[in-house]
Amino acid sequence: MALLAPADQDKLRESFSAMSSPVRLLFFTQALGCETCLQTRQILDELPALSDKIAIEEVNFVLEKEKAAQYGIDRVPAIAVIGQDAAGEPKDSRIRFLGAPSGYEFISLVQAVLLVGGRGSNLDEANRQRVAAVSTPTNIQVFTTPT
């Protein structure tokens, strides 16, 4: 059953139609002891139906510890947004979502998919240069709530 209203599906389909490169959402999940993993899966399942450029790849957090470590995932549900470089190779955007992307977080996820899928950055040139000048590992965590 669709979680999104038909009108919202149409709007998203239109937004995603501007994507120029594929985006893969690595979804780290586990069957037991994860209250919101199923809900996250249901939300993510909405997306590939709206664009053939969006794919979901489920990763078992319990069995695939190495992959979780590779992407810096230490709890679930988690989503890693993976794009593609000019040569068509996977390129980690280093954008992550921890917890179910419902409410406003869903909008953030859609924005991340569009950004990585070819829309490019919303930063103006001065801000982009300032950010590009960072040379030390920087970990930004943004805490939000669904409403």
Binding site: L98, L123, N127, Q129, V134, P137, T138, I140, V142
Partner: protein, 71 residues
């Protein structure tokens, strides 16, 4: 910001699902941003101000103007 620089990782954390993290980083309201476990920004800011505060550990704007951006 993560998209614009390979040194940057950005994670959106659903605070109510991870109360341990919310406690550890003293999340009393949202949005709350924590950079490298030390810099804390409560609330939403215009992009310039947000970037300035978030990157304030990194030498500030004065130097960055003369650096060559990473490709």
């Amino acid at each position: 910001m993560a998209f614009a620089n390979p040194h940057i990782t950005a994670t959106a954390v659903e605070a109510t699902e991870f109360p341990d993290l919310a406690r550890r980083y003293r999340v009393t309201g949202v949005p709350k941003t924590v950079v490298n476990e030390t810099i804390e920004i409560l609330g939403a800011l215009p992009p310039e101000m947000f970037i300035e505060q978030a990157l304030s550990y990194d030498g500030g704007d004065a130097n960055s103007k003369f650096q060559i951006p990473h490709s």
